[in-house]
Amino acid sequence: MKKIILPGDALPDDLAVAHYTCINNGSVVSKVVGVYDDERKEIVPLEGAWHPRVGSSIVGIIASVGRNTCSIDLKHSSYGILVNDKMSRYSPKVGDVIESVVRSIERKNVPVMDRARLIDGSSWLVYVKPSKIPRVLGRNNSMLKQIEELTQTRIIVGLNGFVAISGKGINPAVASIRKIESEAHTSGLTDKIKDMLLSMKE
């Protein structure tokens, strides 16, 4: 069964090693507002900032360009670092929107990327709370594929919260992403979004 948990709520002891928990006075407690599923023994946070991890795909905006590195605005507590790829034809410019993958994390929690791909300038960039991004993707990217299919768009999702949308039906795609963001904690969202997009088509 799923239930909402708040910071300080007691959890079973076997969740001691899970993310979003800590030990307070000898018992395992939640650190965040989230949904606890006692069958799958997992916590899904409902709010919170992005934690960079190696392998996370990101979408960011180039904030400054140096000789060997660029600073990337990821809407994170620190700028990301993009190491310039000498082999690439792409030369970064301030304001470019790029997609990349986190290769390593520096000591001060700074994500480092080494290869970037420029996102087309005609794309729309929207920001979604990073805690809602897993719902935008859906299980095995099912939600994302559904939106892309029904709106004839291409959507690039950065786990840091930026989502770049290009293609024909940008407006319905943005509307569906906003709906997912506001109702991320509810179940049956894939069907709701499908109904919404089909009704918008008519």
Binding site: L6, P7, V33, V35, E47, A49, S77, H185
Partner: protein, 241 residues
Amino acid sequence: MASKINKPKLIHDGKRLDGRGPDELREIKIEAGILKNANGSAYLEWGKNRIIAAVYGPKEVMPKHFADPNAAIIKCRYSMAPFSSLEEHGRSGQNRRAVEISKVIKEVFENVVVLNEYPNSEIDIFMEVLQSDGSTRAACINAAAVALASAGIPMKDMVYGVSVGKVDGEICVDVDMLEDNYSDADMPLAISHRDDRILLLQMDGDMSNEEIGRGFDMAVEAGKKIRELQREALLAMYKGV
């Protein structure tokens, strides 16, 4: 503190001027997530107090030399609106009282927020008192705790604030402005939800050891209601799970 010469009688037949018993709180209403542009926010009505709290972050530390490479830092700003009270407040920015309250509230949250998860970053807590009627620092702590949780800032525990005072020689919980002005003592407290840890204890005036102990027990008892209201406010954000 107001003059004792014209001090009104604050307790008649065991009841306070607003009809409450010594262990009763004023009416409280908390709403979470009211500001779109903040990461977390809360609005609190506590008697005639009206408070908005907003949380931003974790974000880049400014100025950069304040940054701690091992943990996040908390910045707190308690501020009274110029129209918040009968007297003048906040017309020329922060005063000594606001700086002191900001500092003690910051220290309350440094004890519960898991700061080492966000090295080199800062978490900003803003508390604006729109209307004041006594015990505003306790009220701000309640609003800020809800705002922090709604921002998804990792916390070991939730916190509530409540004040205790000695009014006409009797220990009362949740003192309002008039009681505060003419009380023999007042003691704001911040207490953690799970284990009743005291995170803030200040006192103005004189109380005996026995009276402080009794006041603390009354604060914990009254805190059960505040705890529930804080929980309800946060859960109301996510109806329909």
